[in-house]
């Protein structure tokens, strides 16, 4: 399953039906690459911008904030380390670039 | 017994060392298991020479020393699994003898890494191949067993 999913991405044959799922994963990984840890608010915003589902879960955010479950700022950790991993994985995959 | 023909461990100048392994096996389990390895065409290294006995209980430990003295770099003793002996208890006696003999061998300075005791049943063709390969690789890494051969030819045997 994983292999098929990853191959589909590699040869760019992902079903358009799954585009928002891929968009979510991209937003998620983008957040880790930038911050080292998941920045939930940022991920959701990224996802909305990628898919255009701007109003999805709009009602949820305030109640999450009220319960202290949605931080406004990313956590601080070693950002370079994560970014380095992403860069090296990319380099291994596309040795020419 | 000195009249027999023996080939020394082949170790020509510049060639890599190939160990000589002697395997003492019982007729009912391991010999049949090794036959199955053949029937199943499972490849293993050609360094092993098999000597067939009715039962591991028959295997006199003097034979093992004799094998080392006459150029074997490693020895395998293998028979039926506990409880599966064709002769009910032969392998138990072999095991008991082995436990005692092992200490004696260690005391006399025999390198125990060169001696392997294993259970291989008639249905374990693949296991036989694994065993031979494992022992061959190990003994190859240890190099020729010159120490004991030298002692033996000096008449200590």
């Amino acid at each position: 399953m994983d292999f098929l999913r990853q191959e589909a991405l590699a040869v760019d044959t992902v079903s358009p039906d799954a585009s928002d799922i891929v968009a979510f994963h991209r937003a998620f990984l983008g957040s880790i690459e930038r911050h080292g840890r998941l920045f939930e608010l940022g991920t959701v915003l990224g996802y909305k911008l990628r898919t255009g589902h701007l109003l999805q879960d709009a009602a949820l955010a305030p109640s999450m904030i009220r319960r202290g479950k949605l931080g406004a700022l990313p956590h601080r950790t070693d950002r370079q380390a994560a970014a380095g991993i992403f860069a090296r994985v990319r380099a291994l995959k596309e040795p020419g670039k | 017994m000195g009249t027999s023909v023996t080939t020394p461990t082949p170790l020509k100048e510049g060639s890599t060392f190939e160990p000589k392994i002697t395997a003492f096996v019982c007729n009912w389990c391991t010999y049949a298991g090794a036959d199955l390895t053949g029937t199943s065409r499972i490849r293993y290294q050609p360094n092993v020479r098999v000597i067939r006995f009715p039962c591991t209980g028959r295997i006199d430990f003097m034979l093992i020393l004799k094998a080392f003295a006459h150029g074997s770099d490693g020895v395998i003793v293998s028979g039926c699994h506990p409880n599966d002996c064709h002769y009910t208890t032969g392998n138990y006696l072999a095991r008991r003898r082995w436990i005692v003999f092992r200490d004696v061998l260690e005391f006399t300075g025999i390198d125990l890494r060169r001696l392997t005791f294993a259970w291989v049943s008639a249905a374990e063709g693949a296991k036989w191949a694994e065993l031979v390969d494992e022992v061959t690789d190990r003994v190859r890494a240890l190099g020729p067993y010159r120490e004991y051969q030298a002692l033996a030819s000096a008449g200590i045997e």
């Binding site: 880790i32 080292g36 994560a82 | -």
Partner: protein, 291 residues
């Protein structure tokens, strides 16, 4: 007892309640938790779905950092983190070639293997301490919900019975509770599809919540932040799928243990839940059990 600790991103964010209850319970049990220094995200399902190497490298960094910090054992309360760490360790241990590649990517040596504990293993290990410290037995009947990631794949995680796990049930019983027999113990909650496929998560959650209610459970007990948010935060979608309101609360196992240890609900993050945690009084339960 001294233990490495990898909280993971969720426990600092959307599942703060889990993080708070883990730390509160550990404190009450006298267990010192040492955070893995400068830990990063494990990559979760997203890395797993997109890129194999990345999905191994991210948790491998955590393992390597823990090994370097001399943490022989690390508690990963989040089921997803636990799963990613254990799988990464298993795969890397099985292939020297993969190990070399991962080390090249993460730029630090893997170091000696680190034993990763999930929250249930951790609590099982503290069973004696818990038993001696129970102040208010948790006298409620609950449905233990394990989800997908804690017990599968059984060969790799080698923890509990993959199809019918019992470790959480044992813990609940130990602190004075009762558990129901039900059929959704290891069904999937939808996990990472919470955002891109909310209705799917609603349908899956509806089955789980519906089953728990049908089995007469007073609460659902979970050990995974994703399971919790999908059953708690997504309750609106679940109710849409079910076509009716359901008020059954969803508790973390650490909250259950914490309550039994007499910790205040606030310290366990209970007020952060979307579905209000209202459990019937003990007396009521006894009466119903007797009838």
């Amino acid at each position: 007892m001294r233990l490495g600790y990898y909280p993971g991103c969720s426990l600092l964010g959307s599942s703060r309640d889990f993080g708070e209850s883990v730390e509160a319970v550990a404190g009450a049990l006298g267990v010192e938790l040492f955070e893995v220094p400068r830990w990063n995200c494990c990559g979760a399902s997203s890395a797993h779905a997109m890129d194999r190497l990345l999905a191994l490298a991210l948790p491998a960094t955590v393992l390597a950092t823990a090994a370097r910090a001399n943490l022989g054992e690390v508690l990963a309360p989040c089921a997803s983190c636990y799963h990613r760490l254990v799988v990464a360790q298993h795969e890397i241990a099985g292939s020297p070639e993969l190990k070399r590649k991962v080390e090249q990517v993460i730029d630090i040596p893997m170091g000696p293997p680190v034993r990763v504990l999930n929250i249930l293993e951790f609590l099982e290990r503290c069973a004696d301490r818990i038993a001696s410290k129970v102040k208010q037995p948790f006298a409620h009947t609950v449905a233990c919900y394990y989800g997908c990631l804690l017990v599968r794949p059984s060969k790799i995680v080698a923890f509990d019975r993959s199809e019918d796990p019992v470790s959480m049930d044992r813990l609940v019983v130990q602190v004075g509770g009762k558990t129901v027999e039900w059929s959704s113990k290891t069904e999937c909650c939808g996990a990472a599809l919470s955002i891109p496929r909310t209705p799917v998560v609603g349908r899956l959650g509806a089955k789980i919540v519906g089953d728990a209610v049908a089995a007469n459970a007073e609460a659902i007990v979970v050990a995974c932040p994703m399971c919790h948010s999908n059953l708690d935060m997504r309750r609106v979608s679940i109710e849409e799928a079910l076509g009716r309101k359901v008020s059954i609360p969803v508790l973390f196992i650490t909250q259950v243990v914490g309550l039994a240890l007499g910790l205040p609900p606030r310290a366990l993050g209970l007020e952060r839940h979307f579905v209000e945690v209202k459990l019937p009084a003990e007396a009521a339960m006894r009466a119903s059990a007797a009838s």
